[in-house]
Symmetry: C2
Subunit: 451 residues, 2 copies
Amino acid sequence: MHEKDEQSPVQEDIRTLAPPGSEGDAVAVGFENAHPADGADLLEDLSLADQLSVLESLDTSDAAEFVAEMEKHDRAVLMRALSPDLAADILEEMSPDDAADVLEDLDTAHQQALLQRVEAEEAQEIESLLTFDSDTAGGVMNTEVTVLEQNLTVDQAIALIRRAAEESEIPYYAYVVDEQEHLVGVVSLRNLMLARPGKPLREMLENQQLITAAFDTDKEEVAHLLSHYNFLALPVVDREGRLLGVVTHDDVIDIIHEEASEDMLGMVGAGQNETVDTPWLRSVTLRLPWLVINVANSAVAAWVVHMFEGTIAQMAILAALMPIVANQAGNSGQQSLAVMIRQLAMETWDRRRAWTAVLREAKIGLLNGLMVGLLVLCGVFILTHHASLAGVMALALGLDMMVGNVSGAMIPVVLRELGRDPAQASSIFLTTITDSTGFFLFLGLAHLLLL
Amino acid sequence: MHEKDEQSPVQEDIRTLAPPGSEGDAVAVGFENAHPADGADLLEDLSLADQLSVLESLDTSDAAEFVAEMEKHDRAVLMRALSPDLAADILEEMSPDDAADVLEDLDTAHQQALLQRVEAEEAQEIESLLTFDSDTAGGVMNTEVTVLEQNLTVDQAIALIRRAAEESEIPYYAYVVDEQEHLVGVVSLRNLMLARPGKPLREMLENQQLITAAFDTDKEEVAHLLSHYNFLALPVVDREGRLLGVVTHDDVIDIIHEEASEDMLGMVGAGQNETVDTPWLRSVTLRLPWLVINVANSAVAAWVVHMFEGTIAQMAILAALMPIVANQAGNSGQQSLAVMIRQLAMETWDRRRAWTAVLREAKIGLLNGLMVGLLVLCGVFILTHHASLAGVMALALGLDMMVGNVSGAMIPVVLRELGRDPAQASSIFLTTITDSTGFFLFLGLAHLLLL
């Protein structure tokens, strides 16, 4: 992520525009001096035709920076529309990992057509990056790292870094390797600036606790490691401990952003990585199993109602009111479910604390149940003038809301205790409980007290 | 966030333990050489008594690093139990912003008791930080920044930074101010290392596009700015443009983590910032309004059923089956709701793309509706041997699932078009639609075809 990882807020470059009158000149206004992220936003707001003429009028290295920062979807559409030669030139200007990210969204034939036009060495590096699973450290890592041989001295290292900085980012960390390219340590620019100039790097690494990720480590695990230690970058190594690249803080922000919304999808039984770009048939296969389980679960509630069919036949208004009970308790329970899932996602697991939170939800459920119960008591009485019906409804509703809150809080905890994902399909389990309990309480009380 | 913002993965410090035999010696094992984040984890796993004796046995600066990295809840419990003198010593060793974060969770009397024991200048800085709203840039900023006067030359600046680095972090950015302390620019270490030594800093700032946050900018806006530009830190200024501090990349990771799960809470009408530490009565007031709206909404569905009470009285099994229709469509709709909310949270708004996604959900709803409809057709026929009942049920279910998916996709889009939060209470609006439609379709078709 060389262009993406623009670690300086300083905009000094004066971007070269095509000479006046050239194609695209009219639409390229605003791209001069734009930060790559802003240039990408500007591009995304243009029609495809305008995007193409802007890119043709821009300097290729600027075009590469803007394209690297675009959103995946818009970028894929644009890359498909670009002339293969210009597309290849743009890829060549990107860091290999950005180029691999761009190519990942194109089909294999298109990938090959473009890679053939890219300079051989660069093409090979991009291809090797494409082989990593995009959900692993290898798939998100940046391959442009500063590598120092362990026998260099501090002043030699500084001179090397200074030279390298002239044509790329400043490396906040430099990675120290042995003769066989095994990663043996990390030095920060700070360490180097403060060390005695003649000291060999090797001696700086004593007592160092080196934290690395394997190339096939899950990217979320990498994100957790980096944010746990507040690192700027985490080195990625192969099975033999040789340095392959680094995952940087900005990649981690993207990973964490993605991950946190996965719980919301998991809770309702959608695929945790689904986006609007997931092929729709794939979404069907991801969601259908949970919908089928949901049918089975709601059959339990149906069976409860079935037991009271006689009661309903005598008093059909019960059928009209019972969904209110179930719906209300389900919603209240989902509130505590969401708070609990978030809790489990944000903190390390603490059993005592989790059960204290369940107790807290019980209190909330009790009070909310009481309030909504009173509201429903008045509402039903005003509409039906049937005091005992209103009482039964309010009682069933209040109790079921409390059951909903306690279940909503307990389901993620129980799933966690069982070693499962606390969010997965939790909403489906919850509504099974609130529906069945609600119908049983309401119809059961009605049967006992109203007939 | 000085101690927290440990930007080097290098562990060179050899931590001093209390002499053997001293109190806490037995439990302090493992804390030597521990990274602050790991030390904090180790502490959290101990009983409160053991935490206290470990902290007493550790060097105060190590204790401060560990405490700063602990989770808010555990840390507040520990701080309340510590002797005021030790607590104050630990606070003094922290960066002022970490100390303010720690104090924020204590009551005012306790805050004052500890601040009185802290050295006056430090205490004043912590107190001024405590005045910022914790949801704003001022509330999350770090006040330890490297400030350079604009008339310094590059070599003077490097010498200053080098001196400062000896006792704190290396500053990746240094902030350049004019004579009145107004922020005029940012230079990175890279810029400095590559510039001509005699050049005044002022001249390095030409053409610079300075991006800052006001002290009262919402912290989520700050997080978006920083991650948009892939900065390591964003300067925070007062109304007059004077530098107050910086928000760093590691704070932003925490903010983004928190924010992303807010949608899940918003969707079901819980408070977006609720945690298990929110006072339970506060949670009641946050959630109750949405529950009341939910009652009103589910009254719509009840009214639909009420219209068909005659039908139900004749055929009570309808009452047992109708919740399956509503529940299934509600769940299916929540799946598309979650995917859509995530989409809107992750990408910049694109109307055409949003409506394409609605179409995609319609297709998913149609196919899933067909499949689950067939399943229910078989299930109901086997259980009741009533072919037309099974047919009516399957038809209503399939149609309602499609309605659910389309509504689930449209609600966030419509909320967004109205300028509202796409997640807020969306699940409540959704179930109103799926319940009412489901009951109307099922009971209506049953009335027409079965009686």
